[in-house]
């Protein structure tokens, strides 16, 4: 935990520092999403390769990889418009109407507020007040009347988590949501670090989302300038070496360089750890970014450039020379150098291919995707087209080869059963809504959202998610979901199994296998589940009621089956 006292002193110091220097605000709100600016093609632009998979398997594969899994009826809908046309629309999300989601998101007012608005509207409760609660001088009830839970900063991350699940489950722009998740994880920040909690929603909304299928350079620059990243990786406090504060209460205090962001932008955001940089590059990149800071993180929280903190000397970075006096442009120059470095194209192509194709992505595909990245100056939509239209993407080896992450298993389960999410109760600390209940489950399965402490983000390989404890939690989630025990999450199994006769369990099972696994269960799973139908707990045989299939438990078994853990 950041020490409050310590941060405040540095903050006051930076305020003082700023008072004595020319500071220009850095634009924090990003212009209109590039998705809507992109020209919409009249007809499918993507050409799908030949594949040994059946047409239905290809559709299922696309729904599992480019989204959070099929809902009942999705297979038929894509069959109707054609897979290429479906993928095309997903690549241009602004063309896909998403009214139902937009309506649902209105339940989360913090999503669209600016950082200064959030700082004003959701202040940290007075520490003296909390001390009174601890000493028993005031009751929790009284404290909540003065500082209600729904006006505290934690509310922001709660709404963001709930919105993420709501989007994953409901959005028609499935690929966009997958890309936002991918890039947020790539440019990870942690809501629990200091002032990031007021900045994180705006970070996803303005730095990540507009560029998720845009240009990599724009994405990198937007994250570099955003206060959430500046705070999370400490760049806001990094100044030229031995800077001595001249005025204000912190007069005489010495500041200096902080290498944290400089190292991570190369290791994790662009070149990769073997991308060919040295400790000297780290230091000069850190010097280039000195002055990229935040105006009073706990009061205004907007980006600023502080000329007085900037190191105006010459820098040598990866074979490029930045002449002295570059000012704020030094950082922009670094972004350009890193975006165009060949290591970046390979690093990004590898990570995308790992996410969309397989844990060990085929090197030939990675090389083609990297080449597209280089040829198009980092056009992420075009890189995705290279990956999706590759024979490797639609290969038998890739089909159901990825183990679902916790987010993916939770979202795809709810989608498979066509679950409904209730909005949060408006005020008074009532029921926090279905999206939040699901987000808590994702956390329990090992992926607490917006709370990954290391800047690496979450791993994207099976070994990270498959272990005994996690498997048990997945089974328990399936049982809880089908029994309607997730607050605010409604599953109507009657609707899922429809007219299937509950007195004939094998019919119920067939319907479930079609709606949850699109009829793609292995022979083993089908026979194991069929054997379960003799289990009196499934058939619920009683003297009066010979068979009345326990659909809840049967559905949980299907959701907890090995096949459904894969996408």
């Amino acid at each position: 935990m950041q020490s409050l006292v310590g941060s405040l002193s540095v903050l006051a110091l930076l305020g003082a520092l700023c008072a004595g220097c020319s500071s220009a605000p850095v634009k924090s709100r990003v212009p209109a999403p590039s998705a809507s600016a992109a020209p919409a093609p009249a007809r499918a632009t993507i050409a799908l390769p030949a594949s040994t998979l059946s047409e239905d398997q290809r559709i299922i594969h696309a729904l599992n990889r480019l989204g959070y899994g099929p809902r009942p009826g999705d297979l038929e809908r894509v069959r109707q418009i054609g897979l290429a046309a479906y993928i095309d629309r997903q690549l241009y999300p602004a063309r896909v109407p998403d009214d139902r989601l937009e309506t649902s998101l209105q339940a989360f007012p913090t999503l669209t507020l600016t950082v200064p608005e959030l700082l004003r509207g959701f202040p940290e409760p007075d520490p003296k007040l909390l001390a009174k609660a601890q000493s028993g001088e005031m009751s929790q009830q009284e404290i909540r009347q003065i500082a209600p839970l729904e006006r505290r900063p934690a509310r922001i991350a709660v709404e963001l988590q709930a919105a993420k699940l709501t989007r994953a489950v409901l959005s028609e722009r499935q690929l966009q949501e997958v890309m936002v998740d991918f890039w947020f994880n790539h440019f990870n920040v942690d809501a629990r670090k200091g002032a990031v909690k007021w900045m994180i929603a705006d970070y996803e909304q303005t730095a990540i989302r507009p560029h998720a299928l845009g240009k990599f350079r724009d994405l990198l620059l937007a994250t570099a300038r955003h206060p959430a990243m500046l705070f999370y990786l400490d760049n806001w406090m990094s100044t030229k070496a031995d800077l001595v504060v001249r005025t204000g209460p912190q007069r005489g205090r010495q500041m200096g360089l902080n290498e944290n962001y400089a190292r991570e932008i190369m290791e994790l955001h662009t070149l990769g750890v073997d991308g060919g940089y040295t400790q000297t590059d780290v230091i000069d990149v850190a010097r280039a970014f000195t002055g990229w800071s935040i105006d009073r993180p706990r009061e205004r929280g907007t980006s600023v450039f502080r000329l007085a903190a900037h190191d105006q000397g010459q820098k040598h970075i990866l074979g490029h020379t930045l002449p002295p006096g570059g000012g704020e442009q030094d950082g922009v120059r670094v972004i350009e150098i890193l975006s165009r470095h060949p290591s970046t194209s390979r690093f990004i192509a590898t990570k995308l291919a790992r996410r969309f194709v397989s844990d060990d992505p085929p090197p030939a595909l990675v090389e083609r995707a990297a080449k597209t990245f280089r040829d198009t100056d980092g056009d992420l939509r075009k890189v995705m087209v290279t990956i999706i239209s590759s024979p490797e993407f639609f290969s038998a080896e890739a089909y159901r080869a990825k183990i679902k992450s916790p987010l993916e298993i939770v979202a795809s389960s709810v989608r498979a059963l066509d679950g409904e999410l209730a909005p949060p109760a408006p005020a008074g600390g009532g029921q926090p809504g279905g999206g939040f209940a699901l987000a808590q489950q994702v956390g329990k399965l090992g992926e607490p959202l917006y709370q990954q402490q290391p800047p690496t983000g979450y791993p994207d390989v099976a070994e990270a998610w498959v272990n005994t404890g996690a498997l048990l939690n997945r089974m328990n989630f399936a049982l809880g979901l089908t029994a309607n025990r997730m607050p605010g999450v409604g599953v109507d199994l009657g609707r899922v199994v429809g007219s299937a006769d509950r007195r004939r369990p094998e019919r119920v099972l067939d319907v479930l296998l079609v709606s949850v696994l699109q009829g793609q269960a292995t022979a083993e799973t089908r026979s194991v589940l069929a054997a379960q139908l003799d289990n009196p707990e499934i058939t619920r045989a009683t003297m009066d009621d010979r068979t009345n299939t326990d659909v809840e438990k049967l559905a949980a078994l299907v959701l907890g089956s090995p096949e459904f853990q894969r996408r």
């Binding site: 540095v10 200096g256 360089l257 404890g469 089974m475 438990k553 907890g560």
Partner: protein, 422 residues
């Protein structure tokens, strides 16, 4: 795709032969509870993720360069009777005052501190350095498994237990990945198919359904893990570790590490056949506002030390079989940075505590804090390769055979062991 391992089949077979599924209590009692002689030696590995500042844990207050290199974050020299200053250990080193709960262990000679310990690799990346320390192969990224998993799978076990290796947490750490079937659990209480979640009123047994789903079919990571899961669930249910509350007045602090160690102690007392336990926690990456006797790092060190001290007290005599080894991927810069913090450095300090420890000593040569003694002109140099320390604990405490591929490509010569064990 990872194929199911040879080991998990062998283990499943052995469990089936012993009839674990039907009479686990029999196995638990006979294999592990015949008195201390039959009890396994236990290693508890604690990973301080984020690179802990070793110079604040074991303060070199006798090295004058320490106070010239650090301004606001130096921990004050020991002053007799002042609990806010460094707690002197040997006239040259002292514990951070927040680590005072560990001083009695030092006085009992049950705590040794290996200073200037770390990796020969030059990386200052958290991710790479943690990976190297857990895989046990600094500089080699292609290693698939972890050093603890390799060590255990090469070591004959006194019993057959799915709980030989347990990591507290929802993800299995890198050091326990491999051919040993390590278990990851967020909490002991959650480790079962929740019987009452299926339907209101409870009593619905879904476990057997899931179990049969994972019993058959292809040999892949999911099915292999599934089979291990159900073996483990049955055994844990029989052993019932939750019947052991903290003993001897031990009080674990609130927080992840305290919770983890409390439950590890329960598993030890329940005799589930635990040989290696793993716990970790973050918050050590103190780039800004690190603090000195008080502050951010002091708070983390306080929780850390109270947790370890509580474990020591809680386990009582059982500590005779237990060694706790703390580790962190690297240390931090000797010089304070521009934000009253420290950046990524090189060597750090590691703690070894428990009954078998030759304690009350600082272990390993001190490289010094003068500029010419620095690694790469800025950091504390490594004088003890972490692999020698880990190899001593694995070989001498867990009886991992010398032939085991503990650290591939590195010869672990016992003559170079730091000598932390009796």
């Amino acid at each position: 795709m990872m194929s199911c391992t040879r080991r998990s089949f062998m283990k499943s077979g052995a469990l089936a032969m012993l009839g674990l599924g039907s009479v686990p209590r029999f196995l638990v009692r006979t294999a592990y509870a015949q008195g201390t002689a039959a009890r396994p030696k236990i290693l508890i590995a604690v990973f301080q993720r984020g690179a802990v500042d070793g110079l604040s844990m074991a303060v070199p207050h006798g090295d004058p360069s320490y106070y010239t290199s650090r301004g606001s974050i130096a921990v004050a020299r020991p002053v007799a009777g002042n609990a806010e200053a460094t707690v002197d250990l040997d006239g040259f080193f002292g514990l951070h005052p927040a680590m005072a709960p560990l001083k009695p262990l030092w006085d009992d000679q049950r705590l040794a501190i290996v200073h200037a310990c770390g990796s020969p690799d030059t990386t200052r990346s958290h991710f790479d350095a943690q990976d190297y320390m857990e895989s046990g192969t600094p500089g080699v990224k292609s290693t698939q498994d972890g050093w603890l998993a390799r060590g255990l799978s090469a070591t004959p076990s006194p019993g057959v237990s799915p709980f030989r290796a347990v990591a507290m947490g929802t993800q299995l750490p890198r050091c326990l990945r491999g051919d040993v079937g390590a278990v990851a659990m967020g909490a002991v209480a959650d480790f079962d198919v929740k019987q009452d979640m299926g339907r209101k009123g409870g009593g619905v047994n879904a476990r057997s359904g899931f179990e049969s789903l994972y019993e058959q079919g292809v040999r892949d990571i999911l099915h292999g893990t599934g089979r291990e899961t159900f073996d483990a669930v049955k055994m844990l249910k029989a052993a019932n570790p939750q019947r052991f509350p903290p003993a001897n007045g031990a009080q674990y602090p609130r927080g992840r590490l305290g919770d983890s160690l409390k439950q590890i102690a329960q598993l030890i007392k329940a005799d589930v056949g635990l040989e290696v336990a793993f716990a970790d926690g973050g918050g050590w990456d103190t780039h800004a506002n690190q603090g000195n006797e008080r502050g951010q790092l002091a708070q983390r060190l306080s929780e850390f030390s109270q947790s370890l001290a509580a474990l020591y007290r809680d386990l009582g005599d059982r500590m005779n079989d237990v060694v706790v080894l703390t580790m962190s991927e690297f240390g931090r810069t000797v010089r304070e940075n521009g934000n009253r913090g420290t950046d990524h450095g090189h060597a750090t300090a590691m703690l070894v505590l428990g009954g078998p420890v030759k304690g009350g000593r600082m272990v390993g040569p001190w490289p010094g804090l003068a500029r010419e003694q620095f690694y790469e002109g800025r950091d504390l140099a490594v004088t003890t390769d972490f692999r020698h320390l880990f190899a001593e604990v694995a070989g001498r405490h867990l009886s991992v055979p010398a032939s085991a591929p503990l650290f591939p490509g590195f010869s672990t010569n016992p003559a170079r062991y730091p000598g932390v064990l009796l």
